[in-house]
């Protein structure tokens, strides 16, 4: 149920569903004008994006985007409010999915027009009747000045929000069926030097989830609200329930009202006006009849907008309003975004830690792990694994392609950058670049719930190698001493579903051929997948993206740069001169 005072003191956070940039920007501008330290919108559910960039005051902020509600829950935790901007067709299903994922959420605003009546009633029965606060559909939402803006109510331009002083809590509640008129009345009220306690738009549909009745009771209960302004229209019987609230003493605060639609009474046949509900098929539903009922209950009912405006102007003023001098007129979006490093008075910070603090930690593996994750690791196991991988991957002989290209380039008289580049450019699917490929095998295999033997059969049928399996030199009876150390590392993990999967694949492939062992790349990929998912708590969606971004190959590239550098410097010390292959080394076919 709607408790305005509670929202005022503890507005909570918002999950935005769907794309509506100007609306979301306005929520952030409102937050900033209210002096909030963090944006109220904590994430956006939308496909195909990692972040959306918004202004935060004169600066900027990245709001994370998730493809699913589950991803949002994993990354954000609790959500208080849903701002549902999806279409009328999607509103019921998306609202249900939200409350299934976030059963403790307080409520939602449903923006869409064209939500079928049947769906609106279902949402009402399931959620409003069970203590959630659902506002809409076909409205502009709820604003509690100084605290919460849930919807486009109050405008999408920061100048409108500022001019209506919606950053300051006041004492006039505005309740309206119409989304356009609520903003008209907010503007009117603010111009006459009053501040608003809250403004709520029920929406123009036939079955609003939060009804005028509920909003009147919320206004009565709210200690800040001293006056209630109500805008209603022809159609429906809500005003009789409101009149009863006043007559029975359940609402005691003064009410000012305008009921639109006397124009409807000048036609012979009932006319359907803009809102679904705005149709008077019986006399009791006409604007005149409802105005009369409210008048009899003691409401100050205006006969025209001019009169409405005059009555509002005459509401006693609460205090001298302060205006806001925030100016957001000249802000511009940046061209690049970065979350890695910053520079300020204290110096340079890298992944959140000042370089001087990194120096005092004396832990290069930890720093490189942070570089790879873009943040400090959650578990020491992660940097322990990175350290082990690097110590094992620095080099494996001058004979291998990458080292050899570095050596040849160095002997051709080139400098360090060219020589390293020659070595690095060799890294690919056949040399050193199979870690990402192996990670894809284990990740897809373990998550698609296919058995290791099905994976092997599939690959055998397609005559494809399994990346991460097989070695030129080592075999089952001649084990690779490096993989023994990596396999040992698996014992320290809390869970190891990927490593187990990879070992099961190896158990099958080695029965076919002795050298089809789980190689170093395969070990690194499997162990790192386990650490990312179980220790770093990274979502499967994000891990999949990391595989696509070649995160896993970086685990080979970084140590191997050290190895290539060693070969380059070594060649400069020896200085044998330009290399040419002997003639018999090439078959001139």
């Amino acid at each position: 149920m709607l408790n305005i005072d509670k929202i005022r003191n503890n507005p909570g956070n918002i999950l935005a569903l769907g794309s509506y940039r100007p609306g979301y920007q306005a929520v952030l501008d409102f937050d900033r004008l209210c002096g909030r330290s963090e944006p109220s919108i904590v994430c956006i559910i939308t496909a195909g994006k990692r972040f959306e960039k918004y202004f935060w005051g004169n600066g900027e902020v990245l709001i994370p985007c998730y493809p699913t509600l589950d991803d949002a829950r994993r990354n954000i935790g609790n959500i208080d409010w849903l701002l549902n901007m999806s279409s009328g067709r999607r509103t019921l299903a998306s609202t249900q999915a939200f409350f299934e994922t976030f059963p403790d959420a307080l409520g939602a605003h449903l923006f869409a027009e064209d939500v079928p009546e049947k769906h609106a009633i279902e949402i009402y029965d399931k959620y409003q009747e069970n203590g959630k606060c659902i506002i809409g559909p076909a409205g502009v939402g709820l604003i509690v000045p100084g605290s919460l803006k849930l919807g486009v109510v109050g405008g999408v331009d920061w100048r409108q929000i500022q001019a209506s002083r919606l950053h300051l809590p006041g004492n006039v509640a505005i309740l309206s069926a119409s989304g356009g008129m609520i903003n008209e009345i907010i503007t009117m009220t603010a111009r006459s030097q009053h501040e608003i306690s809250f403004a709520l738009c029920f929406g123009g549909d036939r079955w609003p989830t939060t009804q005028p009745y509920d909003a009147f009771l919320a206004a009565e209960k709210d200690p800040n609200t001293k006056y209630i302004i109500y805008y209603g229209e022809l159609g429906g019987q809500d005003e009789y329930k409101l009149a009863n609230l006043l007559k029975s003493g359940q609402v005691t605060k003064p009410v000012i009202a305008y009921i639109a639609g006397i124009i409807g009474e000048t036609f012979d046949q009932p006319v359907q006006f803009g809102h679904a509900k705005a149709l008077a098929s019986e006399k009791s539903e006409t604007a005149s009849a409802k105005r009369q009922a409210l008048k009899e209950a003691g409401v100050q009912v205006a006969n025209s907008m001019t009169e409405f405006s005059d009555i509002i102007t005459n509401i006693p003023q609460n205090s001298h309003p302060q205006s806001s001098d925030v100016n957001l007129a000249n802000r511009q979006h940046s061209l690049f975004s970065s979350t890695i490093s910053t520079e300020d008075d204290k110096g340079y910070a890298f992944t959140g830690l000042l370089l001087q603090d990194w120096a005092s930690k004396q832990d290069i593996a930890l720093q490189i792990t942070s570089a790879l994750l873009g943040r400090q690791p959650k578990s020491t196991l992660t940097s322990d694994l990175v350290r082990t991988i690097f110590l094992l991957s620095v080099d494996h002989g001058p004979q291998v392609s990458g080292a050899l290209n570095t050596i040849i380039t160095a002997r051709a008289g080139k400098g360090i950058v060219d020589s390293l580049a020659a070595g690095l450019m060799t890294i690919g699917p056949r040399f050193g670049g199979a870690v990402s490929g192996a990670a894809r095998e284990w990740f897809d295999g373990a998550n698609a719930e296919i058995t290791p033997s099905e994976l092997v059969e599939e690959r055998a049928k397609a005559r494809q190698y399994i990346q991460g399996i097989g070695h030129k030199k080592y075999r089952l009876d001649l084990p690779d001493p490096r993989t023994a150390i990596l396999a040992d590392f698996a014992k320290s993990l809390s869970a190891s579903q990927y490593f187990t999967f990879a070992k099961e694949v190896e158990a099958i492939t080695t029965t076919k051929k002795g050298n089809l062992i789980l190689n170093v790349d395969g070990h690194i990929a499997a162990l790192m997948l386990d650490v990312l998912e179980n220790e770093e708590k990274i979502s499967k969606t994000d891990i999949s993206r990391m595989i696509n971004a070649d995160f896993f190959n970086a685990l080979f590239i970084i140590p191997r740069i050290v190895g290539f550098t060693a070969h380059y410097l070594d060649q400069k010390r020896i200085d044998e001169g330009l290399f040419r292959l002997p003639d018999d080394a090439i078959l001139l076919a």
Binding site: K118, G180, A276
Partner: protein
Amino acid sequence: MSRVKLSEYRAKQLLDASSSAVSIHLDTASSDIDKLDSSLAYVIKVDQGIKKRGKQGLLKLNIAKANALAAVRELSSKGFVRFIAEPMLEHGDDEEKYLSFERTRNGIVASFSHTGGIDIEDNPESVNQLDPQDLPLPKDFIDKILTIIDKEHITFLEINPLVVRDGSCILLDAAVLVDSAGEYQASWTSDDIVEARTLTEAESTVSVMDQNSPAAFSFRVLNPNGALWMLLSGGGASITIADEAANQGKSHIIGNYGEYSGGPTAEETYLYTLEVIKQALASEAEPLAIIVAGGVANFTDVKKTFKGIIQALGERLEDLQSKKVRVYVRRGGPNETEGLALIREFLDRNNLLGAVHGSDMVLTEVINEALEYLDA
């Protein structure tokens, strides 16, 4: 978004798979009538959602196939294009029952009377509201109807008269309102929706625009020879502005009611404005006033929508000037200052300027300014 009426023909098709009703459209009357059975007698009714057809002479009883075309011609002379033909069912008045269902917040509520027929409105006390499961009718019939109501997004269904004979229910007359927002899940389409009156060209164009856009457009001619024409934005603000004309006792000179809302593009606003202007210019009244007004928009961009309006006004400049049209503007919202400056400059340059106001003036004041011009 709103409740709309289905043709009786489609309603019967939905409710009764064995319905032998035939739909007749004026344009295809001969071939439609070919479907009738020459051995039966028919009742032919206007099928445009009109109530009390019997009392208004909008139905013909006991028509043989050979006389059907003449009957349709006669009914069409009253301005109708859609008809339904059904085999006559001989029955006694005492067999006629009344049954209706309505979707409410508390579920589907049924109303029933043992004495149905055309005089039902004179006997409201005979109609009882009850839970559909408590209706004194065959249970399989009720269950079937409830399933159809749910599946087809029916919001109101009235069967009057209903004849129950040998345990089966016969729907002599059925009126169905459906929820237009449910069309995407239903088996009826927008072609099955009937209007009691024939739409003007501008009205049908706007109705098609509304169906094809995420924004909302409505347009209804109230008086084709009106002097006060409305180009309004927002469902609520548009009624409030029209109310002011009624307050001033000027309802009779209002040409139209309509509104655009939900953030239309400049192009859409341009097309909408063209239709409003076209209808206004067809009025015999002179001079004319056009009201371009709305509340303080939450998200509809004033500058963008005004660009569309200016483009349309620009295309019909000479016609507007020769009809002595004055345009009165009041609007607020995103890009208010820029939008208002744009339209003021345009109207002033082309001698169409009535007045231009922003959100600092009461919403409805432009109506009074326009009425002063028309009265002068």
